[in-house]
Amino acid sequence: MIKQIKISPKDAIRMIYGYAKTRIVEQAKSIAFIIIYLILFQVVILRVPLENALGTAGGLALVIFGLAFFLEGLVLGLMPIGERVGVKLPLKVGIVVISAFGFILGFGATFAEPAISALRMAGSTITAWDSPLLFMLLEHHSELLVISVGVGVGVAVALGMCRFYFNWSIKPFIYIIVPLLLGLSLYASNDPNLSKIIGLAWDCGAVTTGAVTVPLVLALGIGVSKASNKGGSSGGGFGIILLASAFPILAVLGLGIYLNASAPKPTTETYFFSPEGKSVADKVFLDDNELEWHLFTHGTEAGRIAHFGDKSAYEQALLSLESDPVMRQKYLGDMTFASWIIEHASEEERHLLVEASLEDVGVAQLTKVSQTLKEESLAGIQAVIPLTLLLLLVLLFFLKERLRYNDEVALGIGFTLIGMILLTSGIRLGLGSLGTEVGKHVPKAFASEEKFIGRVVIHDFDSTHLYKAVAVNGEQKTFFNIYNHVYDHDEMRAIPYHPRLHDVKERRYTHMLTEQPLFSKRYIFLGFALIIVFAFGMGYGATLAEPALNALGMTVESITVGALKRTKIVQIVSIGVGLGICLGLSRILFDWPLIWLIIPAYTLLIILTFFSEEEFTAIAWDSGGVTTGPVTVPLVLAMGLGIGGELNISDGFGILAMASTFPIITVLSYGLYARYRQSQTLNENSDD
C-alpha cells in the first residue's frame, strides 16, 4: 500500500476552489457568445425588450454549472468506464459477444436519450392531408420509429466494434453507405408520400447520438481498438458515431417504404376533411376527436367549412366553441381559445368571434422551476443511469475486473447526472426560452405585411370623433385618434377607421392590433439576409457549448498530442454547423426540396473523403454526428418553427440534417489544409 498524505481542510477548500473555478470559467466562456448574440439580436435588431430577464439569467447560470459538472463527470466517470470495458472485452470474449454487446448498447442508448420529442417538435406543423405518411409515423407509429432508429444505432455500434476488432478502414463504409442512402432518398423523392419523410429520416440520423452516448461509445471504441492490438498510430475510437448517424437514416427510410403501402396518398385539405374524404382520413386518424382537433389546430377555414358541410353549420359550431368549454377542449385540446383566434383563425372567423376575449393569451407560459427540475431529473436519470449501469455490470460481473479509482468513478457518474439535469433544466428555463423568444420575433424580419397580434374593443364609440384627412391627390380617408392604448401609452395616435369593424348599434369599435414589419416590401431581401446571418451566428454559438462535441474535442486533442487542439476542432465544427443551419433554413424559407441539398453536399463529402487521411476521415465524420445535442436542438428547432410557422411551411425538418453535414465538410477541408501545411515543412527543404 502506498501511504496517504493528509490534506488540511483549509488546503482542501483552496484546491477545490481552484479546480471548480477553472471549469466554470471555461463553460461560462463557451456559452458567452450565444447569450450575448441572442440578447443583442433581440434588443438591438428586433427591438423587442427581454421578457423575464431574471428567469433567463438563472437558467443560464444552471446551463454553465450543468456543462461544467457534465464534462467533468464524463472525464472522471463515464469515459474511464467505457475505455476500461473496451480494453478488457476483447481479452475475454470473441467478436460475436463484443458485437452483441455493442448492439445492446446502441439500442439502449436510443431509448435512454430519446430524440423523438425533438423530431415531434420539428414535425409539429405537418398536416395530415399533405403528408399522411409522415403524420402517421410521428403520431401513431412513433414507437416503431424509435425501435427502428434503435436497431439502426445498435447495428452501427456492433459494426463499429467489428471495425476496430478487425482494423477495417472507415472509407469503404462511407463509400457503400452514403451512395446507398442517397439512392434511397432519391427513390423516395419520386413518391409524393415518401418524399415527405426524407427530412425526418436524415434528421433522425442527426439527433440520435446524444450527449451521454457519444462519449461512452467513443471511449469504448478507443478501448477496443487499443486492446485489439492493432492500434498503432491510427486514430482509434472514431467512426462509430458516423455509422450511428447513417444507419438510422437507412432504418427510417426502410420503415417509411414499408408503411407507405398502407398509408393514403396526399390529398387536398377540403377533400380530406369533407365527408367524401372520410375514408382517407380514417386511415390516418384513430378517431373523430383527433381528426377534429387536427382540423382546428392545423387546418384552415376552408377545411373546417368542408368538414361541417356548409358555412352556416360551421359558424354555428364556431360560436358554440366560444360558449362551451367542453367543445373547446374537444376541438382545441390544450390550446387556449384566444391563442387559437390569434394564430389560426382567418379574418372572417375573427370577425365572427368579435365577442371573444383575447385576455388569456397574454399569460406567457412560464415554466415552473420545480416542475422543470422534476421532469428533467427523470429524463437525466434515464439518460445516464441505465447505460452506465450496463457498462459497470459488464465490467464488474461479466469481465470480473475492478476499477482503478472506485470513488472517483462514482463521483464522476454523480457529476454527469447532476450536470445533465442542470443543463437540460437550464436550457428549458434560460437558453431555450431566450431562443424561443428570439425565434418568435425573427419572422418579423421578413414579414411584408402587418401581423395580427390581438385586438381591443372600444366601448361607447362615438362617431363624432371621426375626422377626415386628405392625401395629396385629393383622396380622403377617415381616422380617429386614440390614446392610452397598448403600444404607445400616453401618446396620441391616428388610427384609420374601417366601417366593417364598427358595430353602430352596440356603439362598439374593434381595433385590430398589428405588428409592423421590420423592413418595407422593397427591402424584404434584407430581411432574408438578416435571418441567414442570424441563423449562422446561432448555430455557431450553440455548437460552441455542445458538451458531446467538447468531449470529442478532448479525445482528439489527446490522441493527436495537441497537434489538433480541442478549441480548434470546436471552432471548425461550429462554423460548419452555422453554415449548415443557414442552408437548412434557406430550404425552409425558399421551400427547396431537401434532396437537392443532400445530394451535392454528400457528393462533395465523398470527394473530400477520397483525398483525406484515414485518421482524419473518421474524426471528421464523427464530429458531424455529435453536433446536434441538447444545446443546439432546442434553439434551432425553436427558430426553424417560428419561421416555418410564419411561412406556412409543412415541416421544420432538414435543418438538423444540414447542421450535421456541413461540419464534416469543414473538418475534412481543414484536414486537407493541415496536411498541406505539414508537407510544407518538408517540401521546402527538398530543393537543397
Binding site: M1, I2, K3, Q4, I5, I7, A12, M15, I16, G18, Y19, L76, V87, S225, K226, A227, N229, K230, G231, G232, S233, G236, R404, D407, E408, L411, S558, I559, T560, V561, G562, A563, R677, Q678, S679, Q680, T681, L682, E684, N685, S686, D688
Partner: protein
C-alpha cells in the same frame, strides 16, 4: 516483457532471472510521414522498437505580417518518437543507416541521438540479425555532433509545454518536441481530493549543446516558472552522438539560405556546436535553486496493466514523479506489426535510492511474470 533501463549507472548485481546488458539507446524524433519508412527499415534490421506520438513545434514566419503581430506563430507538426536499443558497437552504424534511409540530414525531417544505458530485462535482447547485417559505407554528408545533452521537462498544467517550447525556439536551441503523459504518484497518495489535480503532464524534449546547458536550463526554468512549487521539473541526460534538426523556422525565407541552414552547415564543418556558445555560462549560486546533481534516469517499458504494481514498487522505494506515456511496440518477428497497450514510465531518482528502486521493480516484474503471466518475455 519488461525492460528497465538506467542511465549513468554502474551495473547492478544480477538479480533473479534478469540479465544486465550495456547497450546503446537510440531515440529518433521524426516527422510522422516518415515514421512508417523508418520502422520498416528497423524491422528489416531485425530490431525491436517502441513508437510514441508527439508533436514538434516550429516558428512559422508569415509571408506578410499585418504589422500588429511580429508575424511569428508557432506551428505544430505531428511527429513520431522511435526508441530502440542496439549493441554499443553497432550504434553509429545503425544511426547512419536510419539517417540515410529517411534522409534525416535534411532540415525538417527530424533528429536522432544515442545514449549509453544499462538494460535489465528478463531475456537478452536478440541482436543476431543486426550483427549480421552488412551496413553500407558511411555517407559523406552525415557528421554527428558529440557535445549534446538531452533535456526532459515534465510540466503540469494544460498547454504549459507550449510556452516552454516557445522559449526554446526563441533561444534558437533546437526544435522542441512535446509529448503527453500521466503522473499519478502524488495523486495516489491523496483521497478523493485528487480529482482537483489533473494527472495530465506535458513533456518537452530538448536537445541542447552541452557546454551551454547550464545557462539554457537556467533560462528555461525561469521561463516556465519551474522554480515555483507544483509546476514540474526537468532533468538532463548525456548524449553520446546525435544529429539535430535545425529547421526552427518555416515560412517565408528572405535569403538564399536560411539561418538554420547556415548553422547546420557550420555545425557540420566544425563537427560540434562549440562555436555557438554565446550565453554566459555564469552559474547562479542561488541557494534556493533546486538542482540535484546526483540523480539518474530510470525508464520502465511495460504493459499498461502492470503500471499500478510497478508504481507501488517505485513509490515505496522513495521515487516520486514518474510520468507514464502510451507507446506501441514494433516487433520485427511479427512482420513489423504495431502492438499498442504498452507504456513507458520515466523518472529521475537520486543515486542513493537507485538500487532500492531497481530492486523493487525487478521483484515486481518477476512476481507478475510468474503469477499472472501477463508480462511477455522478449522472444529470443
Amino acid at each position: 516483457m519488461t525492460d528497465i533501463t538506467i542511465n549513468k549507472s554502474q551495473p547492478l548485481s544480477e538479480k533473479g532471472g534478469h540479465k544486465t546488458q550495456e547497450v546503446s539507446h537510440i531515440t529518433c524524433i521524426i516527422n510522422q510521414d516518415f515514421s512508417k519508412k523508418a520502422l520498416s527499415h528497423l524491422c528489416s534490421l531485425g530490431l525491436e522498437a517502441y513508437l510514441e506520438t508527439g508533436r514538434t513545434l516550429r516558428e512559422f514566419v508569415k509571408p506578410r505580417g499585418l504589422g500588429v503581430t511580429n508575424g511569428a506563430k508557432l506551428r505544430s507538426n505531428q511527429s513520431s518518437i522511435i526508441r530502440l536499443n542496439v549493441p554499443k558497437t553497432l550504434a553509429e552504424k545503425v544511426i547512419e543507416s536510419i539517417v540515410a534511409e529517411v534522409e534525416l540530414y535534411l532540415p525538417g525531417r527530424g533528429s536522432i541521438f544515442c545514449q549509453d544505458i544499462i538494460e535489465y530485462s528478463c531475456q537478452e535482447p536478440s541482436f543476431g540479425a543486426v550483427r549480421q547485417h552488412k551496413f553500407a559505407k558511411k555517407a559523406d554528408h552525415t557528421h554527428f555532433l558529440t557535445d549534446l545533452s538531452y533535456v526532459t521537462c515534465v510540466l503540469s498544467g494544460h498547454e504549459s509545454g507550449e510556452r516552454l517550447a516557445k522559449a526554446a525556439l526563441d533561444l534558437g536551441v533546437c526544435v522542441p518536441l512535446i509529448t503527453y503523459g500521466a503522473g499519478n504518484d502524488i495523486r495516489d497518495q491523496l483521497g478523493l481530493i485528487r480529482i482537483t489535480i489533473s494527472p495530465d503532464k506535458e513533456l518537452v524534449h530538448l536537445l541542447i549543446p552541452r557546454q551551454d546547458s547550464e545557462s539554457i536550463i537556467k533560462l528555461l526554468v525561469e521561463e516556465s516558472q519551474l522554480n515555483r512549487p507544483g509546476r514540474g521539473y526537468m532533468y538532463q541526460t548525456p548524449v553520446s552522438i546525435g544529429l539535430l534538426d535545425t529547421r526552427l523556422k518555416i515560412g517565408k525565407q528572405s535569403h538564399a539560405a536560411s539561418i538554420d541552414q547556415i548553422i547546420a552547415a557550420i555545425d557540420t564543418l566544425k563537427q560540434s556546436t562549440d562555436w555557438r556558445k554565446r550565453l554566459d555560462a555564469e552559474i547562479d549560486h542561488n541557494p534556493n535553486r533546486a538542482f540535484l546533481p546526483d540523480n539518474c534516469k530510470i525508464s520502465i517499458v511495460s504493459r499498461e496493466d502492470a503500471v499500478e504494481e510497478l508504481r507501488k514498487a517505485w513509490v515505496n522505494a522513495g521515487a516520486i514523479g514518474a510520468v507514464t506515456s502510451q507507446i506501441s511496440r514494433m516487433n520485427p518477428d511479427d512482420k513489423g506489426e504495431m502492438l499498442s497497450g504498452f507504456v513507458i514510465s520515466e523518472m529521475s531518482v537520486p543515486d542513493h535510492i537507485k538500487s532500492e528502486v531497481i530492486g523493487n521493480l525487478l521483484e515486481v516484474c518477476e512476481r507478475l511474470d510468474a503469477e499472472e503471466n501477463r508480462i511477455q518475455v522478449t522472444v529470443g
